[in-house]
């Protein structure tokens, strides 16, 4: 026989609190934990109006459309052309979709022989023991080239957004010296022998990309993390000795252009049924699988530099 409780006694039980938590009526941690909740966004009417006015003034000054009839016409033409182009693109894509094979037919992309070919002939054709590396850096190398360029373009965009002029740069230097944890003895001692280990491990991942799990992207991320740790421990004076904005530009330029040229060569020979001079090597050896190892190194350099550049730019607005 169950005991009946009144409402007040029931509210003190564990079951009541548990079911209240389960239904989400009250979170027991709100108010007790040290948290600072975000303030609700409230639009500032005056600032919005001011920005609008500034925008209009800039537009009037730069594009003086009332006095420049040609510019006015060009704007009109630009708008109509962009709308028409979008409509054309939508129509084109819809027509293409209508030609796709119906669900359940033999010619569906799911039933094609591409994946079987990757598994059966991947080792023979690319020379890479790691099928994934053979896929992303040989069969689909164009896609990987695009990914590397996305990283490069992202860095350039952040560089444009966070660009500082001379006085701001000096201010950033001062505030960086004041606020960032520097000369932390514990961090420096640990970094002196952890950073080389991290960077060697990253190099191992890159060089081992065609033999096992790994490759340019993951190895580059590890090397970038090691560089960020070094920067955190010793500050910009030490890293500037081997890594400046110039280094970043040249490393990215050479890696990406090497990637472009190497893959252009292999696409050219492949499309024209020519014999490529790059040897495949014996599968399993470190110097094998043709272009995959150099391409991995190029991708790894770009990724490592990008991670370091992002950290440096968000911390100080530059290198």
């Amino acid at each position: 026989m169950s005991k009946k409780k009144n409402a007040e006694a029931y509210q003190k039980t564990f079951a009541f609190r548990f079911f209240r938590w389960l239904s989400g009526e009250k979170d027991p941690y709100t108010g007790t934990l040290e948290m600072h909740p975000q303030k609700e966004y409230q639009p500032d009417r005056e600032a919005a109006l001011r920005h609008e006015k500034e925008h209009d003034a800039i537009m009037d000054k730069v594009y003086d459309t009332e006095h420049n009839r040609w510019l006015h016409l060009f704007h009109r033409l630009y708008q109509t052309t962009s709308v028409l182009f979008c409509l054309f693109l939508i129509a084109l894509l819809l027509v293409t979709v209508s030609y796709l094979p119906a669900n359940g037919t033999v010619t569906r992309p799911v039933n094609n022989e591409v994946s079987a070919r990757y598994i059966e002939k991947g080792l023979e054709e690319t020379g890479a023991v790691n099928i994934v590396a053979g896929m992303i850096l040989d069969y689909r190398a164009f896609d990987t080239l695009g990914e590397s360029h996305v990283l490069f373009v992202a860095t350039i965009t952040v560089l444009i957004l966070l660009r500082l002029n001379k006085t701001e740069k000096d201010e950033a230097e001062v505030s960086d010296r004041r606020f960032e944890p520097k000369n932390d003895a514990i961090l420096q001692v640990v970094a002196t022998f952890l950073v080389p280990v991290i960077i060697i491990f990253g190099i191992y991942i890159i060089l081992n990309g065609h033999l096992g799990p790994g490759g340019g992207f993951s190895g580059g991320a590890v090397i970038g993390a090691g560089l960020v740790l070094y920067l955190n421990a010793f500050g910009f004076q030490k890293t500037e000795r081997f890594f400046t904005e110039k280094t970043y530009k040249w490393v990215c330029f050479f890696s990406l252009s090497f990637y472009c040229l190497a893959k252009s060569y292999s696409f050219y020979t492949g499309a024209n049924h020519l014999h490529s001079v790059i040897p495949k090597g014996t599968p399993g050896a470190i110097l094998s699988s043709g272009l995959i190892l150099p391409l991995n190194i190029a991708v790894g350099l770009v990724v490592a530099c990008t991670i370091y550049a992002f950290y440096a730019m968000f911390r100080k607005g530059g290198f």
Binding site: Y29, L33, E34, P181, D184, I186, V190, L194, V197, N232
Partner: protein, 134 residues
């Protein structure tokens, strides 16, 4: 299974269980404490002791091979990385929190702290001596 394998299984399971208990304590502490430094203290425990107990259990299962060496290196890496990152984070908290004194005692310079510690040590020493005399 031979007796040696049974012993290995039991010891490995014990280590993993100890690791799980430490992880549970860590999780409880992270949600139990209110102040960030206390919670960080709880969280750093799981990253060092909990993960190393679990990995030692797995090392005993795996036996003497290359995988064991890799797991040992993971333990070494974590024992360096986790305390140092906690240290840097707590330094940042101490540097940026304005009402730090409401959470813990603050000493203006290290000498005051050392003097108080020495006095406390002397007190405990004399107590011990008195206890041994009586």
């Amino acid at each position: 299974m031979s007796a040696v394998e049974w012993i290995r299984l039991i010891i490995g399971c014990l280590f993993i269980l100890v690791g799980m208990v430490i992880f549970f304590t860590e999780l409880f502490g992270v949600f139990h404490f209110n102040y960030v430094l206390n919670r960080m203290h709880a969280a750093a425990m799981g990253d060092t002791l909990g993960i190393s107990a679990c990995l030692i259990g797995l090392m005993i299962f795996s036996g003497l091979n290359f995988t064991t060496l890799k797991m040992f290196l993971i333990i070494v890496f974590l024992w360096f990385a986790s305390p140092v990152s906690s240290h840097v984070l707590s330094r940042l908290e101490a540097a940026t929190n304005d009402n730090l004194s409401s959470h813990c005692e603050i000493y203006e310079d290290v000498e005051t702290l050392e003097r108080e510690l020495a006095a406390a040590r002397k007190d405990s020493d004399t107590e011990k001596k008195e206890a041994s005399v009586s």
